[in-house]
Amino acid sequence: MSFEMWAEKYRPKKLDDMVDQKTIVERLKSFVKSKNVPHCIFAGPPGTGKTTAALCLARDLYGEGYREHLMELNASDERGINVVRETVKTFARSRSIGEIPFKILILDEADNMTSDAQQALRRTMERYTETCRFIMCANYSGKIIEPIQSRCAPFRFSFLPREEHDDYIKHIAERENVQLLPDGAEAIFEVCGGDLRKGINTLQAAASMNKPVDAKLVYSITGRASPSDVQKMLTTAINGDFLGARKQLRDMIQKYGVAGIDIIRQIHTEIFKAEIPEPWKIKLAGITGEIDYRLVEGADEEVQLSALLARLVEAGSEIKKAN
């Protein structure tokens, strides 16, 4: 076993190494061949190879010294307009030395940029096209303002299909001498849903136990990484104890750092498993969807999710009344 983060160790280095997103990879290869790259948007869920594809493209294009022609910025950490004004501009306007006349700027998690910053970016992109090409990675392309979208070639990344996901996980397990049982691989796909980064991290955390990796171990890992007390919280709410449920929610968010988006995804799954009258399930799913949407816009995950808990309390009391 090696002891760095496997998700990095096994990150593909060249476009040829990428296991999935075949059509996208083919187009990127044609960019390399013609030595020309347009501005791009790589949109898609986490762990599907957006950043990897961008890095591979750069490496194939410039060779081993690619770092000199590349800048990686993360919009979640540097989302303000000043970054665009200073860092991005300085990088974008200086000419690249070498065969290829432009540099590449990877703007990761670009959907987290403020709209002001995006507006500023739009002009920068236009002005310095000669010297710099932008690759914007984002979960939701809809959060990128229209004028930028229209200047970029769009690429949609999707979750890895089951087979390719399993092959990759198994490949890593083999290389690291981890005993991965068939139901273990299945469980990893089940909990990570094709998010390869999450899958590899789960495999590594499971492997750190020095036991054969089976479904039970995987579930216990993901249970601890994001405690699935969600079911318990749901029951507490439906039974009418709002404050108790809110307390559980708070612990999940503050103590364990579980992301609101993961909690709501689990709530959605649990609703259909819960012992409530059938017509209520779709009603509650609709409410969950509304809060899911507000989570994206809102400022405070706990506030949004506890509004959902209050709805569950309400549903619980009406179900009781109907009986």
Partner: protein, 417 residues
């Protein structure tokens, strides 16, 4: 003699100003550049939340650089004519003795509505033709009204200084006033101020003036008693309001900021809305208020605050239909705030680990604490060797390792592996 401490202890030079070193440097460089001829931008636009030293910085810099200083609050000068009169005086002609001069237009947010329509335009004209440095100050430079004006200005953002910097400033004041103050007492005041230095100094004066010694006990009641007296009335007006107007009025009475008031409401709604339907409606209103907080953050357009207020006051009040509260239900201090100072330190730690992860893993610090850190926790608890190698690979220090495993002894075995 009674003097307000925020004035009495106003920083005399930039060295004494709390926080924002890079903003101050940018401003001072720009002022300096006037010595080499007229710079490209003839005005700077300082912006940021109240009480963090925007105006004070300009005053101190003027003093440091021995410049003459002409100041007007734009809120006094509302009409185009008035602004122009002042502008002519200040920026078209050099100072009488040929000295250098700064013109400051403060509180631009105060220019409001149709009555001031010409105001922003007049200011823009001044900026275009200015012959001396013009400094503009507002809380929100990204108000759409300032769009044109903005393009003629060098924008400098002032941010809330960290609590530690505020505490240092408080310490300096206590020394001058001859008060011996416990460190945790000052830290408490600093934390509570949430970066508003002016309010922190006001609080300090209220609590410490006339004392020889200031302890934690002297200050801790401040949040829990005195302020609650008035917050209780405000909460009653909101949670039991019968009209939208009445509930909204309560905001003006509150001596806490909107975010803190939101916390008070969010904490107390469940105990005072006993009917499940009412509770769901009230929580829904808070959810919508929060959506608008998110929109403010995304757009930087603070005028959306009015909708935050609508939902968190009138929205909550109107949710009450069947809920009846029997007997005395006390209002509770927001429990999230009590947890906040602890989780604030925790967030700082998560961020510094996140920055390390970012260097290696092509993921933002913000997301790494959610997507990578949980797995590191499991690995670090179960596999010393793997933990040690990863810690080395990520370049984590001993403190970070200890935070991840949550146990000093175990952290020791990892760092010395």
């Amino acid at each position: 003699m009674y003097a307000a401490w925020p004035v009495k202890h106003k920083p005399k030079s930039t060295a004494e100003i709390v926080g924002n070193p890079s903003a101050i440097k940018t401003l001072s460089d720009w002022l300096d550049s006037w010595n080499k001829g007229m710079p490209k931008k003839r005005a700077v636009f300082l912006y940021g939340p109240p009480g963090i030293g925007k105006t004070v910085t300009v005053e101190a810099l003027a003093k440091d650089l021995q410049m003459e200083f002409v100041e007007k609050n734009a809120s006094d000068y509302r009409t185009e004519d008035a602004i122009n009169r002042f502008a002519g005086l200040a920026s078209q002609y050099g100072s009488l003795f040929g000295g250098k001069r700064i013109v400051l237009l403060d509180e631009l947010d105060g220019l409001m509505g149709n009555a001031d329509k010409g105001g922003v335009k007049a200011i823009t004209d001044i900026v275009k033709t200015a012959r001396c440095p013009v400094v503009l100050i507002a809380n929100n430079a990204y108000d759409p009204r300032f769009r044109t004006l903005r393009s003629y200005c060098l924008l400098i953002e002032f941010k809330k200084p960290p609590a530690s910097a505020v505490a240092k400033h408080l310490t300096r004041i206590c020394e001058r006033e001859g008060i011996q103050a416990d460190e945790n007492a000052l830290n408490f005041i600093a934390q509570r101020s949430e970066g508003d230095v002016r309010s922190a100094v006001n609080d300090l004066q209220a609590l410490a003036q006339g004392k020889k010694h200031l302890t934690y006990d002297d200050v801790s009641w401040f949040a829990y008693r005195d302020r609650q007296e008035s917050i209780f009335n405000v909460l009653r007006m909101i949670l039991y309001g019968r009209t939208s107007y009445g509930a909204k009025q309560a905001v003006d009475m509150a001596d806490v900021d909107i975010d803190m008031l939101f916390e008070w409401i969010y904490e107390n709604v469940p105990a005072h809305f006993t009917d499940p339907h009412d509770l769901a409606q009230a929580m829904d209103a808070l959810s919508m208020a929060d959506v608008y907080r998110g929109r403010i953050r995304a757009s930087q357009d603070w005028s959306f605050t009015r909708y935050v207020i609508d939902y968190m006051t009138a929205g909550v009040a109107m949710a009450r239909q069947k809920s009846e509260v029997h007997g005395w239900v006390p209002f509770k201090f927001p429990s999230r705030i009590m947890m906040l100072s602890r989780s604030r330190a925790e967030r700082a730690m998560q961020l510094s680990i996140g920055l390390k992860i970012r260097r290696k893993c092509h993921i933002s610090a913000a997301r790494s604490s959610k997507e990578i850190l949980p797995y590191l926790r499991i690995i670090f608890k179960n596999n010393v060797q793997m933990a040690a190698e990863i810690a080395k690979w990520l370049d984590l220090d001993a403190e970070m390792v200890e935070y991840i495993v949550g146990n000093k002894a175990k952290a020791g075995t990892i760092t010395t592996f």
